[in-house]
C-alpha cells in the first residue's frame, strides 16, 4: 500500500513540469530579445561614434533654415526645427480632418446608393467603388495632381463656379467667412433671444405644437439677425470672396494644388472603402427590423431614421475607426506631391541634420498619438451608441 507521500515520485520530473517549462521558455525569450537589442544598440552607438554624432533632442532648437510652402500657422525659415515640425503636424491634422469629413460624406452617399432600389444609381456607385478600391492610393493622388490639377488652366483663366469659387493650376480658392469684432455680441444676442422666446412660448402658449413653436422661434431669430446686420456699425459676418490680382488671388481660403490633390486622392480612395463599410453595416441590420417597423405603422423614412440608422451606426463605428486611422497614415504620402505634412518635413530635417534616430522616435510618437486620439474619440462614440445591456 502506497501512502500519499510516496506518490511524489509519480509526478513528472521538473524538466517536464509544464509550469517550470513555461517560466524557462519566457526567461529564454527575454534573454534572446535583450541580446538582440543589446547588439543592435551597441552597433548604433558604434556607428554614431564613427560619424561623430550623439543622441539627444537638443538639435530641435536649432534654426531650420528651410522654407515651408504652406501652413496653417505662420512660420519663418529662421525659426527652430521644433516649430517646423509643429507646422507639419498641424498640416497633417488639417489635411486628415478635412479628408475624413469629406470621405465620410462620400462614403455614405455611395454606400447608400449601392443599396438603393434604383438600378442606375446602384450600378454607378458599384462601378465607382470598384474602380477606386482596386488601384493604389498613391496612383490616385498622382493622377489628381499631375493628371488633373496641373493640367487645369492658369491663374488668369481660372475656372469659376458662380463667381465664388475659382479653380486653377495652383489650387482652389474658396470664399471664407470674415468675422468682425461684432460677431460675438451678435451671436450672444441671437442665441439669448432664441432661448428667451422658447421660454416665453412654453410659459404663455403651452398649447402650441413643437412645429409651430419652432416656427415662431426661427422667425424671431431671423428677425434679430437681420436687425443686427442693419443696426451694428459693421456687419458681424462678411463673405470674403477671392479676388484676382496681378499674380494670384487674394482673400478667401486658398487650397494649394498639392493640398487639393492629396485631399481628393484620400477622399476618393477612403470614401470608397467607407462606402463598403456603410453598405455592409446596413445589410447587417436584420430584415425583420424593416418589416417590424413598417408593421407598427412607421413610414419608410421614419423606419430608416429611427430604426435602421441607429443600428447600422452601431455596427459601422469600429470599421469606420479603422478607415480613419488608415487615412491619417496614408496622409504621409503627401511627400509624393510635395505637400508639407509631418512626414515630408521630418524627411527634410533628417536630410539636413542627419538626426534619423531621434526623428523616427518623434515620428512614431506623433503618429501613435494621432491614432490613439482618433481611436479614443471613436470608442467614446461607440460607447454612446452601443446597445445598453444589463
Amino acid at each position: 500500500m502506497t501512502s500519499l507521500s510516496d506518490q511524489s515520485h509519480l509526478r513528472p520530473p521538473w524538466w517536464r513540469n509544464e509550469r517550470i517549462l513555461k517560466v524557462l521558455l519566457q526567461v529564454a525569450f527575454v534573454v534572446a530579445v535583450l541580446l538582440v537589442f543589446g547588439i543592435l544598440a551597441q552597433n548604433l552607438l558604434a556607428s554614431m561614434r564613427r560619424l561623430g554624432i550623439s543622441l539627444g533632442f537638443r538639435f530641435l532648437g536649432n534654426s531650420a533654415n528651410f522654407g515651408i510652402t504652406e501652413g496653417l500657422i505662420p512660420y519663418d525659415p529662421s525659426e527652430s526645427y521644433l516649430k517646423a515640425l509643429v507646422v507639419g503636424a498641424v498640416n497633417t491634422l488639417w489635411l486628415s480632418a478635412v479628408s475624413i469629413v469629406l470621405a465620410t460624406v462620400m462614403g455614405f452617399v455611395l454606400g447608400i446608393a449601392r443599396l438603393s432600389s434604383n438600378w442606375l444609381a446602384r450600378q454607378l456607385a458599384t462601378v465607382i467603388t470598384e474602380i477606386f478600391r482596386n488601384v493604389p492610393v498613391l496612383l490616385i493622388v498622382i493622377f489628381w495632381y499631375q493628371g488633373v490639377i496641373l493640367t487645369l488652366p492658369g491663374v488668369r483663366n481660372s475656372l469659376s463656379i458662380g463667381g465664388l469659387i475659382f479653380i486653377n493650376q495652383r489650387g482652389v480658392n474658396l470664399p471664407s467667412l470674415d468675422l468682425s469684432g461684432w460677431f460675438i455680441p451678435a451671436l450672444a444676442i441671437v442665441i439669448g433671444a432664441g432661448w428667451g422666446i422658447r421660454k416665453l412660448l412654453l410659459a404663455r402658449r403651452p398649447e402650441l405644437g413643437s412645429l409651430q413653436r419652432n416656427l415662431w422661434i426661427s422667425a424671431g431669430v431671423a428677425l434679430l439677425t437681420v436687425a443686427c446686420w442693419v443696426l451694428f456699425p459693421e456687419p458681424p459676418v462678411r463673405l470674403d470672396i477671392p479676388v484676382l490680382e496681378r499674380f494670384n488671388f487674394r482673400g478667401g481660403i486658398q487650397l494649394s494644388a498639392e493640398f487639393t490633390a492629396m485631399m481628393l486622392g484620400l477622399v476618393t480612395y477612403t470614401g470608397c472603402y467607407i462606402a463598403e463599410v456603410v453598405r455592409g453595416s446596413f445589410l447587417a441590420v436584420p430584415r425583420g427590423q424593416w418589416e417590424a417597423a413598417r408593421a407598427i405603422g412607421l413610414s419608410e423614412l421614419q423606419t430608416f431614421r429611427l430604426v435602421i440608422v441607429p443600428q447600422a451606426l452601431r455596427i459601422m463605428i469600429p470599421s469606420l475607426n479603422t478607415q480613419y486611422l488608415t487615412l491619417i497614415k496614408n496622409s504621409s504620402l503627401a511627400i509624393a506631391v510635395g505637400f508639407s505634412d509631418l512626414f515630408n518635413i521630418s524627411s527634410t530635417i533628417i536630410n539636413q541634420s542627419g538626426r534619423s534616430v531621434e526623428m523616427f522616435a518623434i515620428l512614431m510618437a506623433t503618429y501613435l498619438t494621432f491614432n490613439l486620439v482618433v481611436s479614443y474619440g471613436m470608442n467614446w462614440l461607440n460607447a454612446r451608441v452601443k446597445l445598453v445591456e444589463r
Partner: protein, 402 residues
C-alpha cells in the same frame, strides 16, 4: 377510402408561385422611376454618367497619345533591368508559369481557369508586332503553361508536390534573375530589378514570408499562458500598426544601416523587410480575429482527446481560425499589393514609379494621363483577379455556410 375518393375526381392543382413576367417598360418603371426620389436619382446618375463618359470619350479618342504605352512596354514590365539580359526575365516567367501550370492542372478550380486565360492571352499576344524576340518568348511561355497543364491534369497525387516544389523554384528564379551566369551574362545588380517585375517580387515575397510570421505573432498575442511573449507580440503589433508604411520604409532606408554595424545589406532586401514586417502585423490582427471566433469548446475537446498544446494549436485551432480569416487576409494581401507602390520612398522603381519615369521623359511629356490610366488598369486587373479568386476559394471552403 378517402384517398381513392379524392385522387381521380378532384385533380390536384399545383399552385406555383406567380412567375414574374415583366415587360421592359415595367422593369424600367420599377427600377428607375418608382417614386419621385427614384426618378431624381435616375436623372442625377444619368447626368453624371453622361458627363463622365463624354469627358473620357473625348480624351481617349481625340487627345490621348496612346502610342506611349507600346513604346515603353519594356520599362513598365521590367524598368531598368538591362536590355541585353532580358531573356532571363522571360525564362523566369516561363518557369513560374510552368510551375503554376502543374499546380493548376493538379488542383483545378479557379487557378486553372486563370492559367488557361493567361496562356491564351499570351498566345494571342505573340501575334502582335512586338519584335521577334518578345513574340518568340510569349509563344514559348504560352506553350510552357499549356504543356504543364496537360502534363498534370487530373493527377491529384501531385497536389502537395506542386506546392513544395516552390521551395526549389524560387531560389532558382532569383539566381536566374540576378546571378553571374558566365562571361556573357554577368550578375545583375538587385537595384536594377524594377517595373512590374519589382512590384510582383516585393508583393510575393512579403506575402510568403510575412504570413507565417504574422500567424506566429497572432498566436503569441493570443497565448495567455506565456505573458512575456504575449506582451512582446502585442507591443510589436501595435507599434508597427500605429505608424505609416512610409515611415517604416524610410526607417529601413536610413535608420537600419545604423543598427547593422557596418554590414551593408541590399536596399531591396531592407525595403522587403519593411514590407514583411508590415504584412506580418496586419496578418496577425486578421488571424487574431479568426482565433477569437473559435469557440473555447474546441480547445477543451482537443485537450480532452489528449492532444498536447502544440497539436491543439496546429491541428484544431489554427486551421479553423485561418479559414475564418480568409476574407480579411485577402483584403490584407490586396492592400499590400497596392502598397508596394510606396517603395518610391526609398528610391526604388516599381510599376508606378516606372510610369512616372516614362511621362517625365522629354519625348513623352504630357502623357501622364495615358500612362497613369494604363498603370491603373494593370493594378485593377491584378486586384480584381485576386479578389475574384478569393471569392471562389471562400465558396469552396464553405465560408458562412457551415
Amino acid at each position: 377510402m378517402p384517398s381513392s375518393l379524392s385522387s381521380p375526381l378532384v385533380e390536384e392543382e399545383k399552385v406555383l408561385p406567380p412567375t414574374e413576367k415583366q415587360s421592359p417598360l415595367a422593369w424600367v418603371r420599377r427600377n428607375l422611376f418608382d417614386s419621385w426620389l427614384s426618378t431624381l436619382l435616375t436623372l442625377v446618375s444619368a447626368l453624371v454618367l453622361a458627363w463622365a463618359v463624354s469627358l473620357f470619350w473625348n480624351w481617349a479618342f481625340t487627345q490621348a497619345r496612346w502610342e506611349v504605352i507600346p513604346a515603353n512596354l519594356k520599362i513598365f514590365a521590367s524598368g531598368t533591368y538591362p536590355g541585353s539580359q532580358l531573356w532571363r526575365v522571360w525564362a523566369v516567367l516561363g518557369i513560374v508559369l510552368a510551375t503554376l501550370g502543374v499546380a493548376g492542372g493538379a488542383w483545378g478550380g479557379v487557378l486553372l481557369h486563370y492559367l488557361i486565360l493567361l496562356g491564351a492571352a499570351m498566345g494571342l499576344a505573340a501575334f502582335l508586332p512586338l519584335g521577334t524576340q518578345s513574340q518568340g518568348w510569349l509563344a514559348a511561355c504560352s506553350g510552357a503553361t499549356f504543356a504543364a497543364i496537360a502534363l498534370s491534369r487530373g493527377r491529384e497525387s501531385w497536389r502537395l508536390a506542386s506546392i513544395w516544389v516552390w521551395a526549389l523554384i524560387l531560389p532558382l528564379c532569383l539566381e536566374l534573375l540576378l546571378g553571374d551566369l558566365g562571361p556573357n551574362w554577368p550578375a545583375v545588380r538587385a537595384e536594377q530589378l524594377s517595373g512590374l517585375l519589382l512590384t510582383l517580387i516585393l508583393a510575393a515575397a512579403a506575402m510568403i514570408i510575412g504570413f507565417p510570421i504574422g500567424v506566429l505573432l497572432a498566436l503569441g498575442r493570443a497565448n495567455r499562458a506565456l505573458p512575456v511573449i504575449r506582451i512582446f507580440c502585442t507591443l510589436v503589433i501595435e507599434l508597427v500598426r500605429g505608424v505609416p508604411l512610409t515611415t517604416i520604409l524610410f526607417a529601413a532606408w536610413l535608420l537600419v544601416p545604423f543598427f547593422l554595424g557596418g554590414i551593408s545589406v541590399n536596399l531591396i532586401i531592407r525595403a522587403e523587410v519593411a514590407f514583411i514586417l508590415f504584412t506580418a502585423v496586419y496578418v496577425a490582427e486578421d488571424v487574431r480575429g479568426g482565433l477569437q471566433s473559435i469557440p473555447l469548446g474546441q480547445l477543451e475537446a482537443a485537450r480532452a482527446l489528449g492532444l498536447n498544446p502544440f497539436q491543439v494549436t496546429a491541428l484544431v485551432i489554427l486551421p479553423q481560425a485561418l479559414r475564418a480569416a480568409v476574407p480579411a487576409l485577402v483584403n490584407e494581401f490586396l492592400t499590400l499589393f497596392k502598397d508596394t507602390s510606396l517603395v518610391f520612398i526609398v528610391g526604388l522603381i516599381d510599376l508606378l514609379q516606372a510610369g512616372r519615369v516614362v511621362f517625365t521623359n522629354p519625348n513623352w511629356l504630357g502623357t501622364q494621363r495615358e500612362v497613369l490610366f494604363f498603370i491603373g488598369v494593370v493594378y485593377f486587373i491584378c486586384c480584381f483577379a485576386m479578389a475574384y479568386a478569393a471569392k471562389q476559394v471562400e465558396k469552396a471552403l464553405g465560408l458562412g455556410k457551415r
